[in-house]
Amino acid sequence: MNISMRKINAIFILRLQLILKNFSLLMAPLMAIGYVIAFKNFFPSNLPSLRALTLNMGIILNITMGGIMFGSYPIAEEKEHHTLRVLMTSSVNATEYFIGSLLPSLLILTLVSIILVPLSGTSWQQVSIINYLVITIICTIISILVGFTVGIFSHNQTSAGVLSLLPTVIFTFIPMFKGFNKTISTISDFLYSGVIAKFINQSLLKHRFTWNLFDVGLLIVWLIIFSIVLIYAYRYKHFD
């Protein structure tokens, strides 16, 4: 299969234009920003645990809910308005479509993840920017892959909303509430979004985060799992 940079660029620009005009799609990153600003203003305390909670919730909302929405809704919308078939009969192949669709979503969600740090009142000295970018980018990609898979099985935006619900609840809320229950905390440790929570907690509460084999392996395994799931979903359903 040939991959054309020109076609990826065309899809990238198209997708960027459509995302920026779609307010309901922008709700997840805007909610994350709004939540962090509101939380910081309502609880102006400088307690590290409070700041960790604020940042955790903002980032996880942005990356998991945002990533799944950014992946699933555009595919469902294209199916609903019969534009996906037009692209496929215009010499764009599935790989070009997925890469071109992934990049603008990744760009927007990563920018939001970056601005959430100062908005939460956290200094970049407390959080290693390289580790932060590596973890947030990998987790955002995984969420978008989950979203793509949901989009493949959705007929329209309503069904995308319904099908997104379960992965959103699992990957967003379990790491968010890991502090409330030991079982939830254990489950969270095995989720890709749990690595974000662990990274933020260790950086802000223990003042250092060190990579371990388990976390690296966990991110790689989730990335591989959802890449394979997406490939199989596409082979099974195509864009029908």
């Binding site: 040939n2 020109r6 076609k7 660029n9 065309a10 899809i11 620009i13 198209l14 234009q17 459509l18 005009k21 779609n22 294209e78 308005h81 019969h82 534009t83 078939r85 037009v86 692209l87 496929m88 009969t89 215009s90 010499s91 764009v92 192949n93």
Partner: protein, 275 residues
């Protein structure tokens, strides 16, 4: 010299569940032809177009386009074909210009040609308007403009004038004839026999998944013109329908010599009658 058909269909069968949609379809289309595929709803027209454009796989038989079996199309084939189906979509939140610009990027077409294309389909003044504010006719013209943006060798048009006004229909017909003039082969499905008779070099009449007749509209009309008749209107407003005979010809001559004949038309069957 033997010319290679640009589209060739051999023994094509397609079933949906237990229902046969296409039964042993056989036809070929030469370069530069406007080929009409006619039939009532459910006859198998859209199924044929979907198989020819690689969107559907036949149960058996071969559908080849530009020498490529449509079952194994690679995406590069779509650089040479344009497809307009009745459910072709547009990006409603983008302007007409941005819709075409996206596909110009995909096909590597110079953006200068977007404006000239928008002028050709009378949408230049509305180029900055969001497509969601367009009428059905304007959308149809934009879809057609998008399909010919890459100057395709073959244009597939599936019921291109469904739900649009006569003025837009006229413009679409003009554009189709212009494309033929520049060497594009057009595969047109329609249930409108008059449209087919006006535009097509050859037509295939499809019924229940089978081709009932194939040929030029004129040849088909003449083939079924068993009873030659004339419709006559005299200057005194008398309307007559006369069957061809020595007596009728003598009468017509007499009316012509005496200046009494106002109009005269032959009554060969239309494609609709043939169908």
């Amino acid at each position: 010299m033997v010319t290679v058909p640009i589209i060739e269909v051999k023994h094509l069968y397609k079933n949906f569940g237990g229902q046969a949609a296409l039964k042993n379809l056989d036809f070929s289309i030469q370069n530069g032809e406007i080929f009409g595929f006619l039939g009532p709803s459910g006859a198998g027209k859209t199924t044929t177009i979907k198989i020819l454009t690689g969107q559907l796989v036949a149960n058996s038989g071969i559908a080849s386009v530009l020498g490529n079996n449509s079952r194994f199309f690679k995406e590069d084939i779509y650089k040479h074909i344009g497809v307009v189906t009745h459910d072709s979509g547009l990006y409603e939140n983008l302007s007409a210009y941005d819709n075409l610009r996206t596909f110009a990027r995909i096909f590597n077409v110079d953006k200068m040609s977007i404006d000239s294309l928008l002028k050709r389909v009378n949408l230049y003044n509305d180029r900055k308007k969001l497509v969601k504010k367009f009428s059905q006719g304007m959308k149809q013209r934009l879809i057609l403009a998008r399909a010919i943006l890459n100057r395709p060798q073959i244009l597939f048009l599936d019921e291109p004038k469904n739900g649009i006004d006569p003025g837009t229909t006229q413009k679409i017909h003009q554009l189709i004839l212009e494309l033929k003039h520049f060497g594009t082969t057009v595969f047109l499905t329609t249930h409108n026999m008059n449209e087919a008779a006006k535009l097509c070099d050859r037509v295939a009449l499809l019924n229940n998944g089978k081709i009932a007749e194939i040929g030029s509209p004129q040849a088909l009309s003449l083939k079924y013109n068993k009873k030659i008749q004339y419709k006559i209107l005299l200057k005194n407003n008398t309307a007559l329908k006369l069957t061809d005979s020595d007596e009728t010809r003598q009468k017509i001559n007499w009316w012509m010599e005496n200046g009494e004949l106002q109009t005269i038309h032959s009554c060969e069957p239309t494609l609709e009658d043939v169908f």
